[in-house]
Structures are given as C-alpha cells and as structure tokens.
Symmetry: C2
Amino acid sequence: MCGIVGYIGNRDAFPIVLKGLKRLEYRGYDSAGIALINDDRLSVFKKQGKVDALEEFTIGKNLSGNIGIGHTRWATHGEPSDRNAHPHYTNSKKFAIIHNGIIENYAQIKAELISKGYVFHSDTDTEVLGNFIEDIYTNLPNKSVEEAIRFALKRIVGAYCILVVHEDEPEVIYAARKGSPLVIGIGKGEHFLASDATPIIEYTREVVYVNDYEMAIVRKDELILKNLGNERQEPYITKLDMQLGAIEKGGYDHFMIKEILEQPSTIFDCLRGRLETQNPSIQLSGIDKYKEQFLTGQRIIILACGTSWHAGLVAEYIIEELCRIPVEVEYASEFRYRNPVVHSGDIIVAISQSGETADTIVAIDQAKKNGAIIMGVVNAVGSTIARLSDTGVYTHSGPEIGVASTKAFTGQVTVLILVALKVALEKGTITKERFNQLCIELAGVPDKVQEIFVQNDHINKIAQKYSHLKDALYLGRGYNFPIALEGALKLKEISYIHAEGYPAAEMKHGPIALVDESLLSVFIATKDPYYEKIISNIQEIKARKGMVLAIVSKGDTMISGIADDIIEIPEIDELIAPILNVIPLQLLSYYIGVAKGFDVDKPRNLAKSVTVE
Amino acid sequence: MCGIVGYIGNRDAFPIVLKGLKRLEYRGYDSAGIALINDDRLSVFKKQGKVDALEEFTIGKNLSGNIGIGHTRWATHGEPSDRNAHPHYTNSKKFAIIHNGIIENYAQIKAELISKGYVFHSDTDTEVLGNFIEDIYTNLPNKSVEEAIRFALKRIVGAYCILVVHEDEPEVIYAARKGSPLVIGIGKGEHFLASDATPIIEYTREVVYVNDYEMAIVRKDELILKNLGNERQEPYITKLDMQLGAIEKGGYDHFMIKEILEQPSTIFDCLRGRLETQNPSIQLSGIDKYKEQFLTGQRIIILACGTSWHAGLVAEYIIEELCRIPVEVEYASEFRYRNPVVHSGDIIVAISQSGETADTIVAIDQAKKNGAIIMGVVNAVGSTIARLSDTGVYTHSGPEIGVASTKAFTGQVTVLILVALKVALEKGTITKERFNQLCIELAGVPDKVQEIFVQNDHINKIAQKYSHLKDALYLGRGYNFPIALEGALKLKEISYIHAEGYPAAEMKHGPIALVDESLLSVFIATKDPYYEKIISNIQEIKARKGMVLAIVSKGDTMISGIADDIIEIPEIDELIAPILNVIPLQLLSYYIGVAKGFDVDKPRNLAKSVTVE
C-alpha cells in the first residue's frame, strides 16, 4: 500500500513519475502528489483522489525538472485530503518527503517537535518524520542530509520506505527502507526508484532490490548503498523478466476481468515443466532441495493474509488428506505477535502474491529464528519473501494488477496441490494409481476453466438480478469451505456487499438468524461426500424463505429443483474442484461490481499489496 | 434443535406436555404440536409459530387423555407451517410420530411409498418415516408396532429421536434415538420423556438417558430398553442435580439478561473448589487422571461449533503460550467429514454447552477410534459428550436457556484457563511466580465482571444509538481476536445485524472496502502488546469516516480521543482479559435486540442445542 516513484537523470521527471504512479495505483489511490526540483527550487503538487485528479490539477503548471519523487496514497494516519497527501514539505520548505509505512512513535516525536516550535500542516506521521529529519539537519555542525536521515531512522519505530529530496542538494534522491519495498532501476545516466518494478520495466531491465535497513544515495550516474551503520554495501543487480504487455489492460475494460479470463493460461503456465502426464510425475526443484525435511516434517504451518490465507486453508485440507502431515494455517498478522510453538524441522509455507506482505515477512523472519524451513509460494519473482525463503515454488501467474486477487489465487492452489501430490508420492501416503489420476485431472484444469466461461452471460444475468443485494452468506463444506470464504471476500471487495463465508454446518450456530427474503445464500455444492448434507443445508435456508444460488456439478438435477439459480461446473475430482469452483464466484463479484458502476480495479479503501502492518 | 416431550401415566397429559414444550422452546419455535390418546382415539393439534400459538389454538378443544407426545420444531425440510408441524399422522391416521433429526435417504423411501399409493400432506422427512413404519406394520403377519419401528430404523440413514404412538396400543409410547438426545423421567406409575431434563425436574429426579441405537417401550408402570437387535438393555438410572429456579426467569425480562448478569456467580462457581489462591494451586481431577498424557502430548485438537468454537480459539492462544503444546481448533462439522490426521496420544478437547451438539459427538467418536484421549468441556451434566469423554471438566454455569450463549462461554474460557495453568505448572513451562499471579488475577474475575455492570446504562445508551445499524465489523488481535468473532456472532443472533469478526490486521486485506459512514467498527482494544497496532487500525477506519466503538482499559485517554464511543474494562492481565471483554459485547447485543423489539430469547431461525447435523 502506498506507491512510491522517483526519477533522476537528464529527462523531464514529471511525465515519468506520473506514469509510474499510474502503474502503482493499485497500491493505493486516496490521493497523489509529486515533488520536483527545477533550477535548485523545490515545488510540490498534490491532490486528493486518484492520479488522474493530480494530472488534471497540474495542467498548465510549470512542471520542469530532472528530479522528481511521487506518491500515491493509502491513508493510515489522517483522512484522504489534499493536506494529508504526500509529498510533505518540512517547515523550512527545503525538504520534501514521501513515505510508505507507519511510524509508530510519531506522537512522541511530534510532541517534542511542537515544543521546539515546529508547526504541522497535516495529520500524517510522515510530516513528523520529515521535520524530525530537518530538526536533526539544522543542528548538525556539518549540515549533512544523509547523516540527518540516518540519525532519524535510528530513532523511529515502525516501517517505512522513504524518498527525500532537499533544495540544497538538487542532484540527489535519498531513499531508505525497512519493511516496505523499494526497487531501483539502473539506466544510462539515470535512475528510477519505485515500490515495485512495474514503473521501471519500460526504461531498463537492470534493477537493484534495496534491503531492510539500507539507505540509497542516488545520483543520476551513481548509486551508493549503505547500511544504517554508514558502511557501504555492494548493490546486487538483478535482471527483470517481465513483459510490458502483461501489465497493460490489452483491450479489456478492467484488469480484473482480464486476469480472470487469463486463468486457463496462467494455470497452464503454473503446471508447465512441472507436471508430466505421459508417465505421471511432478518436478519441483524447490521440494527436491528439502526432500528429507518434507518427508520427516512433523508439522506444516502456513502463514498468509487475505486471499492467500484462503489458498492456505484449501492446502490444509489437501495436504492433510494426501500427506498425513498435520497442517496449521495462521493469519501472519496474528502469528507474528504471539509466541507461537515452532520447532526446528517444522515447515513454514508462506503464501503471498506480491511477496511483500508486511505481516507475512515479519512472521517468517520469526519462524526462521526457531529453526523452521521456509517455503515461499509467491507470484512476484525476486520479491522480499522470495528472497527470504529457504526454498519456494513460484506461481507464474504473471503480474496481477487488479486489486482483488483472482489468477494469483488459482495459481497458489495449483502450486500447493502439486506440492502435496509430490510429497505424498515420496512419502508413500498416496497410491500410484490415485497419484496418476489426480495428475491427469490436474492437467485438465485449464480446459475446464475455459469451459466455465461459456456461462459468462448467464453469470452476468445472475449478477444483474442480485446487484441490489445488501447481504450474502457463502457456504461450503470440506475443500469448498475456503472457497466460500474466498467468494465472500471477492464480493465484499468489489461490490461492497456484506458477504460472509462459513462452513455450511456452522450456519445453524448463529448466522442463519440473518436469513430472510432479502438475503442470498451462495452454496458451493458440487458433487462430493458432503453433497447430501449440503442439500439438507439448502433445504434449511429455503424453509426460511432465503434466496439460494448454488454452484453445482454439470447435470445436477436435484439442486436445480430447489435453488433459485445455479451455475454449473464441469465434473472433476473433489480435491481439485476448488480451483474450478472459485471461478464463477470471481465472475459474479466482477459483474455485480460493474453493474453497480464501481471501479472494480480500484475498490474503495483497498490497496493491493499490504505493506503496512 | 426440535424439542420433544412425552407423558404417560394417570394425569392429564396435555398440560404436562404443553409446559414441557415451553421449557424446550429454546430448541426451536417454528411450529408446535401435540398428539393425545383418549379413549383409544388418537387426536393431533398443531400450529405454526411458538408454543403460545398452539396453546391459543387448543382453547375450547377436548384435550383429555393420559398419553401425549409433543414437539416444538426447528425446520429442516419444508418451511414452517401448520402442515409441516409435528406430530404427523400416517395415512391410516392410526399412527402419530414426532421426530428430531434428519432422515437423509427420505427422498428414495418417499418415492417407494408413493409408488405404493401413499399420499403425503407435508414436505417433511418425518412424515415419510411415519408412513414407512406404517407400511412395514401393515405387511407384518403379527402386526407389531415395535417390530415395525425396529425394521424401519434399520433402513434409514440419518439422525433421529422419535416418539411414536398408535391408536391400537393406547398404553404405550415408543421412543428411539440415534444422534439426538432423549431422557426418560421415572415417576410413580408414570413416565416423562423429553429432549433434555428441564421439562422433567418438577416431577421427578430419577432419569434414564437413552443411548444411540436404543429403543424404549414406555408404559405407565414399565420401562423396557432394547437395542436394535431386539436385546433387552438394563436402564441406568441417574439422579438429577438441578434446581427448578435455575430454569425460570426469576423476575428478569429475558433469560439472556438473567444469564449475562449471573456471570459473576457462574464464574465463581466454576472456580470454586478448583482454584486456591492462599498458596496458589489448581485442583482438577479430570486432568490428574490423565496427567501423563497432558505432559507428553504432542498436539491438542479442540473440536467445537459456534460460540464454543470461539472459546476454543481463545484456548488455543492461551495453551500455546503457557503450555508450549501446538493446538489446532477445528469446526467439529468439518473435522468429522475429513480424514484428519490424529495420532494416538493426541488430546482432543470437545467443547459444548449442551453436550449434545451432533457434529461434535460424531467428531469425537471418530477421534477416539484413532487413539486420542477425549476431554469434554461441557455444561450439561450427564449429557452425551460428558458420557462419551474419557475425562472432562464441567463449566458449572447452570442451565443456559437463552438461545444466545453467554454464561456458558465465559465458563468455557474459565475452565480452559484453569486447564492451561495446571498443565503449564506441571510441565514447567510457566514460572511459579507467573502462575501465582495469574491465579490471583483469575480469582478476581467475578468482582471485575460485576464492576462492568455499573456501565449497563451507558451500554444501553450506546445500543440505542446504534440500533439502526445495518452492518458492523468486530476487530481484535491476539487473545481478543476470538472475542471479536464472538461479539459479532452475538449481534447477528440477537439483532439480525450483519456483524462480522476479523483479526484487526486482516481488515486491510478486504473487509475495509465495507467501511463508510454507516458502518460501525467495534474494536477490542484493551491494554496489551498489540495496543499500538490497534490504534493504527482505528486511525485507518477513522481516516475513511467509519464509526468506531472501542472496548478499552479503564482510564485510557488515547483511544477515547479517537473513537466515537468507548466502554471501559477494569485492568486485568491480557491473558485473562477475554473473559471480561466479551461481557460488554453480550450486553450490547442484548440491548440492541431489545431496542429493536425482538424476542431475544428466541431469535428467528435459531435453536439452542444443534442436534441435527
């Protein structure tokens, strides 16, 4: 959350920074702003709203300058407004600062600064940090911006990625990170700074990922990295492997629908080179490397947040069933603050699309200290979690720009099924027959996802019918319980309808009190051993006059006679069904969001990768 | 769910059965009905709505008869209506049947019966079972009702407690159970049958708990128990230890408020004889019996549903912290249908207020087969789970009649803290100092709960303010995350407001999209290590103009400056705080429910003990 961009070189900074902000807008879009240095003069332009509002606001203004830093915000302290937008001036108006993260001890520092006469023009913790740096700078005998930043960063508690410019040093951008991501692109006589690589790839493919507690002193033709102890660090240059087309909409109305429809090919990419169906086998070098540990591991702990947490729940059911290893799925945010029981030899699976989820990063850091092995299931190549993990399996879903995660989720579940199958075969907890069967079924998933899309118009019609909804329950059992949670989350995110997921049998322990004529219950009711029980649950809802939409197996006549609406899914083994069953729920949310006229790629209040805690 | 009552003796059956139904109404109140046998003639009275509606409907009718069976329904198959109400006649009108449970293969049996010419007057599975018995009866050469029932029960799939009467045998009530509870009270020349003991205690204290797969042939002066193999079973007579006053409202408007306000004494009762504070120690014979297993156990699996599941989540945090044993909390309904990994020596903790929760019963049955030790945390003495468990600790909360569980929850958490403390001390994973401190803090809980009640008027005012609410989020971290879930569940159950609980940090991964001026976020934000983080979360909500109600520690000035409303909780160790923090959330739900004019003891669609799957 919060996107950060910087440019220093010979070109005009403004258009580059502005375009970069648009690429990063999925990270937050409460307000946006840009600071430029032109002829040794610092100027700041900022505006509440999306980046478009900033662009409009700057029309006709003098936007020259070869140094620029920009920010698109997801509010933490202080409501979205012009004054709370970044960059923030300091009191002298010589410094400008942008920041992604949360300074936790800001209140105390602010009080100190106020007692020294500082005045604040916003409610943000960022402005406090800026003036704190300024105050240190003013009192330093040698007036070094670099030293002032270093001093300040040592005293603050919290997470940050900051960019700082100073009028008196119109040839430098200072940057530093702890807990929030930062990539620096290396051009010819120019440098690009950003929260992720998407604003950079059209200019250069050579990048440096800045590490926690590192500071970058960036000139157009020089990049210096130091740790907070003022020791030089060697920049490690990585080559980007990403296509520009992958981060553009390519004719679709929204990234979200583009990404939903991409799933046959992203799942295929995820399986490619890993799943062999002729003589069924699975290649995963990330598992081979730690084979012994997977075979002897007494416990797997899955750490994740949001949609990735749901993928983890699906994996819990599948891994326990196939590998007979107890699995615990934890919210990373909860795990990290407890004193959880982790033993040496436990396997931690960290799931994150962006690989930058703040809580997940800290959580795996902690588990590592207890001697656990970390396996990352990450989409963004080279991201922090990918680098922190001992081993990992990428989901290969391509850049996901839509704020509501779709293809990354099916990629995560696919990877986790591959892992479970491979470990189960090695452990001997699955027969070769069942393994072969599941491999073949898995290989058929891309085509079956495509088959679901034949019903898109039908799903859109259902979406129109229910677009007035206020409340919904999503209910499933077994492998499909997490799909109920994920379906409900999608609807919440995109349509702002209060949807809630539950294991179907829990309905009677409270949630059924919500059922009346105006509430929709969405049942995931494809054929599996729970089928009869799910029908009883549907009967219980219908007995109370609730509306029912059911996701059913193709040709189901039993439920179609009871439910108000149905969506059909091709027959598939129940263990793999979650990948298919989530697809219509993604589409339903998308179409309802569009029907309600919402910007589904930028749902209110949200941001994509949650890089604050 | 569904309450069943029967009487056979020399008194008028109707008033006894009617009064019994009122006592059991917490189990369901969609419709009610009574069948009587008078002068060898069977008559049935039934009505949609609560038992009061039935009573009104029967005014002026001939209600004589010394044999009666009655039913108050929680609908599973078929909407609540007169025709779907129990008892159901069979086609000959000679049989009447009442039933609690679900017959899963009813559709197939119904089709067979229809092909034989049977006609159905309701949508229920019960009527199918009744006619199935009749069909068998008709074709038996010896025309034995007993044999017909036995035959039928062997062919059906599902759960049941049934009572059957037949016009040609006006001196017998037939009863049978599998998965749904049944108690028979033994009087002088009379017998009382019921789903639990509450309708019985004013007549007799001697009862027999019927077991699964048992059938009872009940005459006024004879009680015969048989298994389905037609072998006689010796009835095991138990003495009831329950006060009549405990199951009456005693001057309060509702059972719910009575039970909330009882908590200082129910928690005290739960601690009494177990917690010693002079020289701090804990006596729990249920743990002593299996001490070795608790000290060496590698894993604890907690099985529960609904509110009890929330108590289990609190326990997970506490047991892991104090005892360093990994804990997994499972929905019983999910656990039982999977093939979960359970090893010999694992400890299963089953939590259930009623001790009759169907899914939990089956789940522990399964775990037992894998060699796990079962510890029950149950309120109802002598209930099925109490009897199935290897060991256990009663919560001693007294009968809980309000459908929304309150005092049972705090009893469960109290018991689980006692267990964790005792095991931790024995294992040496807690210092004696910390143990002593927690014992003393725990002993202070009843007084501190009482202290919270000083704010009842204040909480009622807040309830009035928010009674128009449509949606709410309940947010907490750590020990208070499950309290957020429980608070949300209470509001759903009693006020039909769509409230949802989340770990506070997960908010940013989706739910925050719901936040606008009309949504209330309830934060549990008492002083603990998460305090600073929770403040950041509150800021994030306020930045998006959401309303905030915070449960805070007494004297908190920081949050009172940010939140719209606060409720104060006496200072207490964070580990024990959940017991206190849930109290204002119970009160808030109660007052909002009352403000909205709802019958808070009988919330729509719900029933107390969930004895169907």
